[in-house]
Amino acid sequence: MTHDDDHDLDEATLHAYVDGQLDPARAAAVADRLLRHPRAAQQVLAWREQRESLQALHREWLDEPIPPRLTAALRPEAANAPRWPRAWAAALLLTVGVGAGLAGGWGGHAWWHAKQEAAERASAEAAARAAGRDPSVPDYVRDAAIAHAVYQPEQRHPVEVGADQADHLIQWLSKRLGQPLHAPVLRDYGWKLVGGRLLPAGDDAAPGAPLARAQFMYENETGERFTLYVSTGARSPEAPVAFRLTRRVEAGQTTRSLYWIDGALAYALSGNFDEKRLRILADLVHARIGMADRAPRSP
């Protein structure tokens, strides 16, 4: 590492990068620099892996019912009551709670209503999970994985408009999505753009948002492909960029998608290779899009 241009890769910055604490421009700069510093990149991957395994730790606990003594503790009446031994207090408060629910006494109605809503939300999420969908994964990511599975194996018509008409392709898709799009150039990393296509938005599209989405396909020398799916209507343009991973098995093949939101656009990068390669690619793609966004527009 040289000394003058590497202050962007000090340890504190790398931690902040992993934790999504950098603003998008800075994160893009770090991602770009990581490409040239494999050791730092390896460190980032290790921390990210650690972070994600911590996040996954006992996720099933989130579905467990909350003991009544805890919900009861939130009631100011309970807080002001004298402290009995806990088991007694719990049993007593539970009885009082049920009584209140039946009688609808002292704000009990609103309380049970809220409780009901929380229970309904939990059961909707449980249903989504039972249907094989992770409720925390946005619908567009699922659409992206499906579109990937459909077009990635296609030999004759993998794309609608080929890379030989790249300028036209970008203009057309930008116009249909109502946002300037970029298909980053990745040739220096062995990936060339095959082309792209216009796809319909799913039924989750926000009212008034464009109904169009875009898919770009890339291929390397050995014939491997990945797709970059772009959707509009991203809701939190100010949020720091965070990459999330999801997996989907389609016709015996595992498609991994890394997805993130950057400004007004939501991206999903899908491929049939391992997480590590996908992450490096996503960092690269994200950095290049960021650079293209900041570059003066070519006429």
């Binding site: 590492m1 000394h3 590497d6 202050h7 890769l9 000090d10 340890e11 504190a12 790398l14 931690h15 902040a16 934790d19 999504g20 604490q21 050791r39 730092a40 460190q43 290790a46 921390w47 650690q50 972070r51 395994s53 911590l54 996040q55 996954a56 730790l57 006992h58 606990w61 989130l62 579905d63 467990e64 909350i66 003991p67 003594r69 805890l70 919900t71 503790a73 939130l74 009631r75 100011p76 309970a78 807080a79 002001n80 806990r86 704000g107 609103a110 309380w111 809220a114 409780k115 929380a118 939300r121 965070a242």
Partner: protein, 177 residues
């Protein structure tokens, strides 16, 4: 106050997992959460946040602040004399989770997390699992942001070391100055 009470309901599953991972013991965790919620109910009037999309986060951070303050007090009470800093504390928490675990990695991670000093576990849970910003984590723990970052860095390294069987492994990335 009732507003706080109803708004806090959807947060409870996450707060409960947070407490359980923090204490490494369900009974103690539920006691900690109960104390937290009782305190919140008493002090509900002290919670001020504008209605809006950030209100839920503000409420979560406030509850986490109460919880971590209580957790700190417990640790202080448990130690007669506090001669070394909490950072260096090395008490191993008992692990009383369900015994049959399928995934070896998860078991390792859980054990390793439970064996960390409390301050390291706190920071990992707040930043990595609850995804708080460094500023918010600093507010919850009532320490400077710089302390959050140094604790985080040390906690990550300790966790990595204990999961790789305690061997030193390769040297951590040097800071480029």
């Amino acid at each position: 106050m009732t507003v706080v009470l109803e708004e806090a309901l959807p947060l409870l599953p996450r707060l409960r997992r947070h407490a359980r991972l923090l204490c490494g013991d369900t009974a103690r965790a539920d006691d900690l959460l109960q104390d937290t919620l009782e305190r919140a109910a008493r002090k509900g009037a002290l919670f001020h946040a504008e209605p809006g999309p950030t209100r839920q986060d503000a409420l979560r951070n406030w509850l986490l602040t109460l919880m971590h303050r209580l957790y700190l007090n417990q640790r202080r009470d448990a130690r007669e004399a506090l001669h070394d800093s909490l950072d260096e504390e090395d008490t191993v928490q008992p692990l009383v989770h369900e015994p049959q675990q399928q995934v070896a990695l998860r078991l390792d991670l859980e054990r390793a997390l439970a064996a960390l000093p409390a301050a390291a576990r706190e920071i990992l849970l707040l930043v990595c699992v609850e995804e708080l910003s460094y500023q918010d984590a600093a507010r919850v723990l009532d320490v400077p942001v710089g302390t959050v970052m140094s604790r985080l860095s040390r906690a990550r390294e300790r966790l990595r070391q204990s999961m790789s069987g305690g061997e030193a492994g390769r040297a951590p990335l040097r800071v480029v100055k």
